[in-house]
Structures are given as C-alpha cells and as structure tokens.
Symmetry: C2
Subunit: 588 residues, 2 copies
C-alpha cells in the first residue's frame, strides 16, 4: 500500500516521513494501548460494569447456543462444532478487540462458505479453514491490507448477502418440511431436491417450523418501542423479544421432550445425540483422511482454491462493517479489528471450530443488552461451556424444524429488498453488478460471486477511465483553430480514445488550420498516452495541418520532449488561445 | 462492451440507436467491403502493382525462410514447422487484411510462448495453440472485444518485449557457443545452463555466431540513408541491407557446404535434416500422446491455463500495433484485423503451423520494399512453398550459430533501452510496473508477467479512484462553516476515504458550526458512497453539529432520498455558500 501510494503521488519525502513515523509508533505506549485495547478499559473496570456485561453476555449466550447448533448444521457439521466455535472468539476478543459491542462467533455466511468442503471432504477442512483464515486476517491486519475490502461495493455486498441468505434458507427447506433427500450445497440443488421430495413431507415438522417462524415474527413485534428504560412490562417485553431465538428453540425442545416422555413418540425430527464435553485442544488438522484417500496440507490448500483468500476477506468485511455500524461515528481501527479477528480464528482452530467472524445478530443483541466492555464475551463463552458440559443430553430434543424456522427467519431478514428497486430507478449499472453477483453466487459459488462482482465494478471504473469525456471545438482566429481540451488526467487505457478524437478533429481540419491540444487544465498524463499523442500528431502534421501543444505544465512538457526531442518547438504557452498561432509563427 | 458502455452513461436511447445502426451495417455493401477488403483493391489491380508486390513478396520471403527456421527452433519444434507457419498467413490475409503492409507469420514472441508446451509435452500443442488462438481472435474481432488490448499500457508492453527478448536471446547462447546441455525454457535456466556448460564451447561456432552478428550490424549500417529512389549504388546497398538476414544465413550455409564438400568436415553444428515437402493438410490435433499418456482435448486445454487467453491477446496486440504503425495516421479497423488474424491462425492450424501474428521485421521490410496491396503475401508464400519442395536438402547446411546470431541481433534491437531512463526521470510509478512485468515474465513465465503488469496498472487506477483529492476548509458566515467540496465523481471504492475526511472535518467542528458537503461541482456518485456519506453524517449530526448537503443535482438528491427519506430537508440549493445556513434555518 505504501509503495503504491508513494509512487502514485511521486512523493518520496512522504514515504520517508511515514517510515520514521511507523518506527516511532511501534515503540510508544499509545501503540501498546491500540494493539492491546484491554489496557485501556481494564484499569477502570468496576462491579457495576461487571453486572451490565454479565447480563449482556448471558443474553447473547442464550441466542449463541441455538444459533451455533443451527450454523453447524448449515456447514454440514455435527451440532457440537457450532458450540465449539462460540468458545474462543469471545475470550480472545476481550484482549484485542477495539469495539465493545462486537461479538465474534460462527455466522451463517461463514458456515455456508465452508459447507461445500465439509460435505465434499470432511470436518477437518472447516477447522483448517478457520486456522488459515485466521493467519490471513492477522497478516492483513499487520500489513495494513484492510483497504482491500474498500473495493467491495455496497451492491456486491448486498448481492452476496442476498445469495447467501437464499442459499442457506433453501437448504433448510428439507428440515422445515421434514423431507427425505439431500439438503443441497447450492441453491438450485436444494430447490430441485425440495420439489422432488415434497411428497415425503410430514405433518408435524412443517407445523412446528412455520409455527416457529410465526412466533419469531410476533416476538419481534412485541419488542417494538420497548427498551430497558421503560416500565416493568415494557422491560419484560423487551427482554422476551431479545431472547426470541432461545425462546422458540426452548418451546420446541420442551414440546418434543414432553411428547417423548408422555407418549413415547417422536412426531418431529430431532437433532439427536450431541457429543457432550469440551473440545480437546489440539493442533489444527494439517492432513485429513477422506474415504480411502489421505489429503496432505498442500492437497487441502489446493482444494480450497480462491476460497482461501475470499473467506478471510468476507470475514473481515463482516467484522469491520459491524464494528463501524456500532462505533457510533467514531473512527474504527480496521487493522486492529483484523488482528483481533485473526487471533480469534487461530485460537478457535485449536478447539475444533469452524471459521468465525463478527456476527450481526449477536452484536446487535449485545449492544441492545447494554454491554459496557468486550468482557461481556467471557460470560457468553462461559454459558456455552456450561451447556457443552451439562446440557448436551437436553439438546437431543431440539427439533430440526425449529432450527430451520429460526434460520429461515434470520436469512430472509438479511435481504435488502429495497435496494433492488432503488437501483432500478437510480443506477442500472449498479443493479447489473448486484444481479450478476447474485447469479454467480447462487449458480457457481459464493466466493466466485463476490469475485465476479468486484471484477465488474473494477471493470466499470477502468472502462470509464478508458473513455473520458473528450471533444473538440472550432475557433476562428488569425487561422482556423481546432481545439482539443485535455482536462484532469489521462491514463494509459485512454490512449486509444484520445488518438481517435484527435484523428476525428483532423478530419475537420483544412490545410490552413491548426490543431491545438489544450493542456491548460491537464493535471497528469502517462507515457502511454503521451507517446500515442505524439505519434498521431506527427502523422496529422504530415498529412493535414500542424498540431500544437498549448500550456502544458513544465514536468509534462519535459516528459514529452524526453520521448521525442523534436517536439520541443510544438509546446506553446499563452494566456489567450487565439494568440497561439501568432506566438508559434513568431518563434520559428 | 455495448452493455457496459450503455449502462455507464445511463443512456438507453443511445443503446437503441447503436442497435439499429448495427443492424443496418450488417446489410450494406460498405460492410462487405470492410469485412472482405480484397473487394476494394482487386478491381483496380494492374500489372504495375503486380510487379511491385512481387518484388516485395520475394524480399520478405528471403527473410521469412531463415526467420521461420529460427523461430521453430525457439519454439523447440523441428525446423520445417517454421516454414509451414509461413504458408497460410499471407494467403488468408490477402482476402481479409485491411492493411497492405502487414505480414502475418511466425514471430519470436509467439514461438517463445508456445516453447514451454512443446518442450513439456509435444509439437501437437503448438498446432492446437494456433487453432485456439485463431478461434479466440476471431471471436474477439466479431464481438468487438479488441478494446481489451487498450488495457495493456506501454510500460507493460515494453517490459514484456524486453523479457521476451532476453529469454529468447539467452536460449540461443547454447547454439552461439556450440555448447552441450539444454537451451532452457526460462531465462534463469538458460543462463545457468550457459555458465555450467561454457567449458564445452567449440572454436568455430562462436566465431561464426559473433561473425554473423557483426555482419548484420555492418549491413544494417550500409543501408543507412539509402532508398529505392537513390543512385544505382545506393539501390544496391539498400537492397543488400534489407536482405541481410538471408545474406548471413546463405554465407554461413555456403561456408558449411563448401567445407563439407572439400574437407569432408563439419566444424560447426548444422541444423541437419529437415523433412522436405509440403505439410499434409489435416484437422488440428485435438488429442496428443506424450510418453505413455494420452491427452484429450480437455487435458490439453487445461495444460494451457491462462495462456489460452494471453497468447491470442499478445498476438492481437502485436498485429494491431503494427497495423497502426504502418497505417500512416489513418484509422485502423482493429476488429477487422483481429478477424483476419483469427482466420489466418485457424487456416494455419490445418497445415501444422504454430501460432502466427503480424511480424514487425517482415512488415517493415514489406513496407520498405514498396508493397502496394496485401497480394505481396502470395509471393512470400510461394517462395516458402518452393523452398519446402526443393531446398530442404540445402537447408541441412544452415549452421545453428548463424541462426543464433540472427536471433540474438534481432532480439537485442527489440529492447527499448531508453524507456528505462525516461521513466526513472519522469514516472517512477510506470517504471515500477515495467520492472515488475520484466521480473515476473522472466521468473514465472511471459503470460504471467503480462497479467501482472495489467493487474498493477489497473490496481494503480483503482487506488487513485479510492483516494481522490479531497479536503475541507473553514469559512466564517452567520455560523462557522466547515466545507467539504466534492468534485467530479466518486466511486464505491472512495466511500471509506470520504467517510474519513468527513470525520476529520467533524473533529474541527464546534457545537455551533455547520458541516457543508458541497456538491456544486459533483458529477456523479454511486450508492456505496451515498450510503456511507449518509450514515456518517447522521452520526456527526447526533454527536457534533448539523451536516448539510449543498447544490446536489436533482437526480443525485433523489438517489439519496430514496436511501433515507429523512434526508430530504438536509439538501439546500443556494448560489452563495455563506447563505446556506440562513436558507436552511428559514426552511425548518
């Protein structure tokens, strides 16, 4: 970044200043506080803050547990992996996180992105993905590469989110209706499997599933306009609304449990046995056995392909976007957030976690529950550990349809429906990028979709640079003047366009006229355009009429003359364009 | 291209007009003349023109034969392939070519690009590469995709050419010195092999090789200042200078022949047996056997990797650049050139040719020899056919060192040495791109080098777009105004930068001041920047001071309001910035 930036502005003094500055920065206590934000808030930590963090942490935990199980299912992992993934994020973020609200944990999108590898290969791939993502995030944070996410535009993010939501929601149709068959890795697969198996739908699964969705919608409404500062009834409504994810799963679980105990029947499909106990800490898996084949580290890496870069980028995008949304207009140190996220993922990969990142639902919940410091994450983590050690036998009774309802509701609320209409009205170009992203995400894969979107956006910018606004006008002076004004700056890709405009201008010229390339408002031009301008004006000189270069800056003029010294006499400086020919004729 | 272009300017009427125009174009005789340029010149063809084309064609052929053999050796093919490659280009170009001087045939760069596949797999890969390149070139021409080559800047072209020249020249060191060992596919390989085997150098090979180089340099000098219109002695000097490539090879060949006949000795390494006769016309090879393995079409395609797109792009680049250089300031129909080139390569692949393109040496020679129409190519082609049928036993005596000297001289003259110094003085940024291209071309491969260069150039443009010039200034009016002027246009990648500048401006604000986002000179902004602007100004509104939007165009204003209707009252239009607060306060 520094190199590019530096050479772009051709300002070496600035690079040196920056370098000195960065040396200084590494050594100051201010830097230590920035790199280890816990030092800032721990000294003033009090019992009052502890209570608030405790309440928020437990509230988040109540959602994190059913969500974790649901996301493990999305990734094709067994449910306990979802809980493992919730443990380390909170603990590590306490030390390195710079934003009190952010909650790092498994997310639906991360789960969907690794699902392909878990289903195609094995669970080890998800854990290795967490480790690799952590390393990439850490490196990007350390080397200030966070600016890369700035090249993912809002329409691409929206398209990606929409596609991920559709893909995840469609994969839950199987559980929602209690169908046979596969849940599918791609949208089309899930949809086809749904249609093929719709006849195998049970009675109670869809009732429970749609019931869950209905209750979630109602509970969300119940909390409208309520807050912690309201009356007691408002407070209760607010709290129930916040914990609605836990509420619906507990209701489903209790119903299944009671029916089992009383009628000894299982009318809905349950998630079944979950291995209890804490995960055994161990190195991330650098090899995996799939069927009869052993995959070494290199094989695993090449199976990931572009995913190994796209997944950490998406994780950073989610985490940084969330941090910004909850920073309340304060500056967010994106690089520090990436470092924190990287360390969270690396630590997580030692306890069999899938990739994690900032979770929007949990962060919003954390914020709404009045968290004061990142320490809230500790209580969230403790609750998950508690559930792993004591509650897994209870989780046996969680109905799959409840989780499916939960996931589908969350996913459908992630889609920004309004954006489609807004872009249709105001910017078809951006709508095109959005739709291309959605289509490639759904049809080829999430990582390819986001790459396609970024590519189209970049291509549009480059195309704009290649076809700058440029035209010529005719002016009567002592001779006919055909003036081609060059404004702002021209890059290599505009060379051909500039050439064509100049040739067009030459067609309008008679033997007696002059073509004036007016560089009065020209800021910069590169050698490709300069060479092209010179070769075409040499040709016009020979065949039609003289070409003169008006009011070019001294450095630009020198660059032209370095390419061809014969052009020195063609550069004219004068205030009035109409004088240019007289000045030129006087000079030669 | 049309879609992007259209949506970029949001001008649908224009798309429709273009569409109608293109329908019309397809049906006119003017189009037929454009697509089959032979129709333009054949009716006025005369005996006088025939003579001129004949002389030029034979002159070019005299160079084409030794060059073809040399380029086959560069590609790792047996020599006759180089001659096969010279046959169809000229014939097909007669019908479809739009530029009289252009000569299509094998080139050193094309040869170097397929060399890797010929050495790694088999000769079939070179022929299939010609076919595939032809198809890609044809499609790009038909669908007007020629603009893609505009994104290869002069420094990237220069870096690519430099690296190709160094790689090709280094691979000839083995033959120049008569060494044992491999000639190497990469620069480093060739250099290491040269150093390791330098002790095996013979006496006569380097003498002949360096002698060849010396004679070529002298013969080039001999022709300086001479032309067809000079005295008889000037004419002779001019012609010898033009045919210098043939001259040195014939001298070497004669010397080897005579020594063999008289002394029955072969003191220098000869190219040896060449299969005589014309190539058997057959389908391009869609499968190949390498060792014990059979490669089907798909395997061959995936062996090519990015090469399958980069090779045709480079071919187009060479051909179009040459056409432009010799069009003498006239417009070049780049798409027609691509169609012609594509057809040349497709036809060539049926006679066991490697990929071909416009050759700079041969085109320049053709031009200098006074060619009048593309028909000159027919005589060039006939001479090659004649040599294949009658002269291959003579070619046995061509010394490898003569060809090596020929190739090295040609390659070292391809490098634009001055460009390095010029860029060092005037544009370090472009120098960086050039050097990166050279390094990756030499170290990783020519196709990756050109891709790297294009990527860096694009990244620099995008980075410039992401960090537009933007600052704020303070102004005293009825209130303190902090004005952030937005000029020209802002794309998604600038969103973060705009946000940071606005936050910086807010730090300078007191409770009593106003922040004015001045859109008077703003041309365009996309939804990413707009949403970002709105979210940050909402935050500033809450925490610091009001933010107002001044003089935004109506369509832009509507786009903002579509995102958040609450912003309607923040848009103010007034001629004088100092009035903005009064107007605003009056409105609410």
């Amino acid at each position: 970044m520094t190199v590019l930036d530096g050479v772009y502005y051709q300002d070496e003094a600035r690079i040196k200043r920056r370098f000195k500055k960065s040396i200084k920065m590494v050594c100051s206590t201010k830097t230590l506080k920035r790199k280890l934000p816990i030092i800032q808030w721990l000294p003033t930590y009090s019992f009052g803050i502890l209570i608030q963090d405790f309440i928020a942490g437990i509230t988040v935990g109540l959602t994190a547990i059913p969500q974790g199980i649901a996301y493990a299912i999305i990734a094709g992992l067994s449910p306990e992996y979802g809980l493992y993934s919730g443990i380390m994020g909170g603990l590590v973020y306490v030390f390195f996180g710079s934003c009190k609200d952010v909650t790092v944990g498994p997310t639906a999108i991360m789960a969907a992105m690794v699902g392909k590898y878990v289903r195609g290969y094995s669970a080890e791939f998800a854990v290795l993905a967490a480790f690799l993502a952590g390393i990439v995030e850490l490196l990007m944070g350390v080397f200030n590469f966070g600016f890369l996410v700035e090249f993912i535009s809002a329409p691409v993010i929206s398209g990606f989110t929409t596609a991920a939501a559709l893909q995840i929601a469609s994969s839950q149709l199987k559980s929602l209706f209690g169908l046979d068959g596969s849940s599918g890795t791609f949208f089309a697969e899930s949809a086809v499997s749904f249609v093929q198996n719709i006849k195998t739908a049970t009675l109670w699964d869809p009732i429970l599933g749609f019931g869950t969705i209905l209750v979630l919608v109602i509970l969300k409404r119940v909390g409208h306009g309520c807050s912690l500062s309201g009356t007691t009834s408002q407070k209760i409504r607010w709290y129930i609304s916040l914990s609605r994810n836990a509420v619906v799963v507990i209701i489903g679980m209790l119903a299944a449990f009671i029916i089992k105990q009383i009628l000894d029947d299982e009318p809905v499909i349950l998630i079944g046995d979950i291995s209890g106990g804490l995960p055994v800490p161990k190195l991330p898996p650098f090899s995996a056995v799939v069927g009869n084949e052993t995959y070494n580290f290199y094989d695993m890496l090449s199976s990931f392909g572009p995913q190994s870069l796209v997944l950490p980028l998406v994780a950073i995008l989610e985490a940084v976007a969330i941090a910004k949304a909850f920073a309340g207009g304060l500056q967010v140190d994106a690089n520090q957030e990436m470092i924190a996220l990287g360390l969270c993922n690396i630590a997580s990969s030692f306890v069999s976690s899938m990739p994690t990142t900032g979770s929007f639902t949990k962060t919003a919940l954390n914020h709404a529950s009045g968290v004061q410091t990142p320490a809230g994450g500790i209580f969230n983590c403790l609750l998950i550990i508690l559930s792993l050690t004591t509650l897994t036998s209870t989780f046996y009774y969680i109905p799959k349809a409840s989780l499916a309802g939960l996931i589908i509701t969350a996913m459908l609320s992630m889609i920004d429906y309004k954006m489609f209409g807004r872009l249709w009205t105001h910017s078809k170009r951006e709508l095109f990028v959005l739709i291309a992203t959605v289509i490639i995400c759904l049809g080829v894969g999430l990582e390819y979709g986001i790459m396609t979107g970024v590519f189209f956006d970049a291509a549009i910018i480059l195309y704009g640079k290649a076809r700058p606004t440029l035209d010529f006008y005719t002016m009567k002076a002592s001779k006919d003047l055909i003036v081609v004004p060059l404004n702002y700056n021209f890059s290599y890709c505009a060379a051909e366009h500039v050439r064509n405009i100049l040739l067009k201008a030459a067609l309008n010229a008679s033997q007696d006229s002059f073509i004036i390339i007016d560089g009065t408002n020209l800021l910069n031009i590169d050698t490709t355009v300069a060479s092209n301008l010179m070769s075409v004006s040499q040709n016009i000189d020979k065949r039609a009429c003289p070409v003169l270069f008006l009011n070019f800056d001294e450095p630009l003029k020198k660059m032209f003359i370095a390419i061809n010294p014969l052009f020195a006499e063609k550069f004219i400086s004068t205030v009035r364009i109409s004088d240019v020919v007289d000045v030129y004729l006087k000079n030669i």
